[in-house]
Amino acid sequence: MSNTIEVKNMVKGKKVPSIIVTNGKKGKKRQSWVFPFQFEFVTPTGLKAIHALKRKEGEYNSATVADRLKQLYDPKNSKWHSTLAKWQEDVKAGRKKKPDRNLRVRFAYVKVKDIVIDDDIQRDMDPAWVAEIFNPKEGGFETEFMSAIYCMYDAKTGKYISINAQHTLVLETAIADNNLWDNLDDWNGDPMELEVPVIFVNATSRNLCRKGFRVYNGSHSKDIEPYIDHKMLVLIKRVDNDKSDKVAFKADAIQTINEKEGYEPISRDNKAHKKFSWAITCIREMMDHYDRPERWRFVLRTHKRYWPNIRLDTAEVDLYGFIYDYFTELKYDVYSEEFNEQFLDPCMAIIWKFFHTPGDFKLDSAGVQKRYNSKRTGLPEEKCKTDDNGSVVYLMKLYRHFGGKHELPLYVNNLNDPQHGDLLKFVDSERTNLIEAMKEYGQP
């Protein structure tokens, strides 16, 4: 494919775009076409990334409870301090009793026949889920991860009311019943006589049992953010040197790209590092690239080239990702000087000049698309959706409108309706600079 620059004189008054003559690489004169807006590169002011996951085999990090207590007691944690103060005030005023240490859970080995699964409290059993827990595939069932059985002990009947992990309980019994346990001693062969590990508290009411079901099934647990998944996978490969986990290899490859390009993903709780431009917070989007590492590398490099002093925005992942997809499919070298000069620099100049940052561009793009779709469908704007590639289509349309000459994928013609016209008819009326520029430099 030819990468020859198409030269076209588009002078309007004294304004660019126009032909300029420059010295080529081998001393020859060459003619270049100039876009009406130039991207002004800034000097990076950020610091070097702190690579928390750059670890070697056997290199573990740990904290003591004392460390964590110190962290909790930091005066900045106003929610903790106000919660503690409320307890102290209520206890002092007699409005509340101190939490009773005797009500903490206890542990026991309990015979299966002494456990009751109350279907008022637990869900119906799902045999497929029992099979799923016992999945024999590599990385499937692991005895160590079988949960203890959570129960409430009813002193009146002497029974343990199961409130969580009934599938594990049934599986544990079925494994015994089918003679698949190794090292199962002191058992008479009757599945009901099997002893299983139970964590229990005293049942004071059925209401408490039902509440227990909800608590142990996640209504009071902190969700696991994507960063933790990524971190675990990287550490499995790097620190544990587990060569069997294929996803861990992919996570390691992405993490290696992050480190080579000077970035580091961080947890949403890592407030100390959120301020740094090297911090990656769009972890889910990053993990979506486990099977497309080169696309991710392009996202990071493009961000660093144009916006080195701000954090990577979620908006950029799709924007640069689609650019990578479309132009590599058209067989362009997306890292070439020509590609930068003819396409990326002008596109980023549009974003920088009229929208400031890619994040603001995406917000504006969503508004433009919603107005367009509202006109097309008759639905109110707030009910209209945006296209996954809508922002890149909008950007390419603007690029073409301002006279951009690089070959574009056919997607640039999306979001165009014979009856209602093109997306560019729906730009935000408050963006007066953009509207004036579109009139001044717009290509028919």
Binding site: N77, K79, K274, K275, I310, R311, W352, G359, E430
Partner: protein, 157 residues
Amino acid sequence: MASRKKKFMYAILTNHYFKVGEDFIQRLGYGVTDYLSDGDRSRVKGYSKSSGGEQEFFMLWYSPDFAVMAVEKLLKQRLSDDCFQIHGEDTEWISPYSDITPEVLVEMIEQCAKDLNKPIYRIKKEFLPFKDADWQDMLNKENIETYPERYLENYKK
């Protein structure tokens, strides 16, 4: 209806004090707005009414093309470890345990604008601090955009 796009940015140091441990400290904050005063609404008087004391913006910036919004977004990221939380939620107030002073906050705001390579213009000192007093009613978008040199420091077309 108010525009969703903002042109003004402000910094505020509360007139009243909060007890923090054994000390009494003013609260430092920032924000963006599309108006200073608009009919019955007044941005700074909103703070006064809810706090029960007169408040003022000790610094104001203006950006005709809404760049203050990008500046505020970047500032929030950079203040993530210094922002004050109310009931566990981040606010646009600076934590009383932070070392950030009003002067540092002003520097940070202007550094954000530099790092974005986007100009934001300080409102001239003669119009500050902004209390939305009668003699300050000329500070509005229309006047500033018509006579930017009159109201903005170091304004360049």
